[in-house]
């Protein structure tokens, strides 16, 4: 049986068997759709005594996502550890090159390897899925260099299937939008600072409070904020009487000027702007 993508259909029993073959696992956990599903299956297959989910926390990790991840872990009974990562103090990361994620993930996995070793966990896994293969993903190189496994990708689980299986398990994460780190709001070549990250985080939180829903990003262009929201929402918010609400919210977050992207939310938008990907 094949999926719409032509890949052989993956199966949850195969994923459970994969984990049983490992015996124990440390799961790089963000609270997103993929890592939550992966951790839930690992927990089922191995039991709480042989699984540890670890959150890597830094200024680039949105507060709301951290809170959500904690709540999810508690909800499903997932053993959880939080580790502070220090990629912000790596000048190679802070310079924000197009392979920034390589340095971020290198820092993360470097922090997690000793944890796995100390606790006798056989394998470190991440939530990379089959749809993530290809495209601009420098973080995958860091995982590969440190023998971090990606069973969802290895076994052919695509995003839609993960959402479907998550929903079947009753995981509230099944319908979550993608939640990349806050550094994804900063164009390549613009230095990443804690202050910039906090500013975009404040701006996005403010827009949520005034009622913007769905996929939302506030892209940082120094003095100018560029809001990306779902294309179907643009008509409602571009009316001047409503647009002023957006402008005030984002200016109060610390931007001098506010703009609204006419195409709407686009995953990987800054990869296109930075010439790393084609439109």
């Amino acid at each position: 049986m094949s999926t719409d993508s032509g890949r052989p259909a993956s199966s949850e029993p195969a994923l459970m068997d994969w984990f049983r073959e490992q015996g124990s696992a440390l799961v790089g956990f963000s609270g997103g759709v993929d890592s939550t599903y992966l951790a839930a299956v690992a927990l089922d297959a191995l039991g709480a005594g042989s699984v540890l989910a670890v959150i890597g926390r830094s200024a680039s990790y949105p507060e709301v996502q951290w809170e959500n991840a904690i709540a999810l872990a508690h909800r499903i009974g997932l053993p959880l550890l939080e580790v502070v990562t220090d990629e912000m103090n790596d000048p190679r990361y802070a310079a924000n090159p197009s392979n920034r994620c390589y340095f971020c993930k290198s820092e993360l996995w470097t922090r997690l390897i000793p944890v796995a070793r100390e606790r006798g966990l056989a394998v470190i896994v991440d939530g990379t899925n089959a749809d993530d293969i290809g495209g601009h993903r420098p973080g995958r190189q860091a995982a590969s260099e440190r023998e971090v496994r990606s069973p969802l990708a290895e076994l052919g689980f695509g995003k839609d299937e993960i959402r479907r299986l998550s929903r079947a398990r009753g995981l509230p994460s099944w319908s979550q939008p993608a939640s990349p780190c806050l550094s994804s709001r900063i164009p390549y070549g613009t230095a990443i600072t804690a202050e910039r990250l906090a500013r975009v985080e404040r701006a996005e939180a403010a827009l949520r409070r005034v009622g913007v829903t769905g996929d939302l990003r506030v892209r940082d262009h120094d003095d100018l904020a560029r809001i990306e929201m779902p294309a179907e929402s643009l008509a409602g918010w571009i009316d001047p009487d409503r647009a002023v609400v957006l402008a005030v919210a984002v200016r109060e977050a610390g931007f001098a000027r506010v703009s609204l992207d006419l195409r709407g939310f686009r995953s990987g938008s800054l990869n296109i702007l930075g010439g790393v990907a084609t439109p």
């Binding site: 910039r196 001047p240 647009a243 002023v244 703009s259 006419l262 195409r263």
Partner: protein
């Protein structure tokens, strides 16, 4: 993308009845509507603007939101 690209896009928009100044920031065109900002609520107008912007070498287009006083200077941390 140079300021010349922004001016050329501005002329192209005007030829189609869309009055806006264009600030070129690399591949990003920032439009400041000079009249009828509500016109951009029309998806057909947005599509037309995006197509024109692509023809002039821009990958992104954003319309600046006013209505509240602009803060002078930059707040870039």
């Amino acid at each position: 993308m140079s300021a010349g690209g922004g001016a050329a896009l501005g002329h192209a928009l005007l030829a189609r009845g869309i009055r806006a100044s264009v600030e070129a920031r690399g591949s990003l065109a920032v439009l400041l509507p000079l009249s009828d900002p509500e016109a951009f609520a029309d998806a057909a107008v947005r599509d037309q603007v995006l197509a024109l912007a692509r023809e002039h070498g821009f990958t992104h287009v954003a319309v600046e939101l006013l209505g509240a006083p602009r803060v002078s200077g930059t707040n870039a941390p």
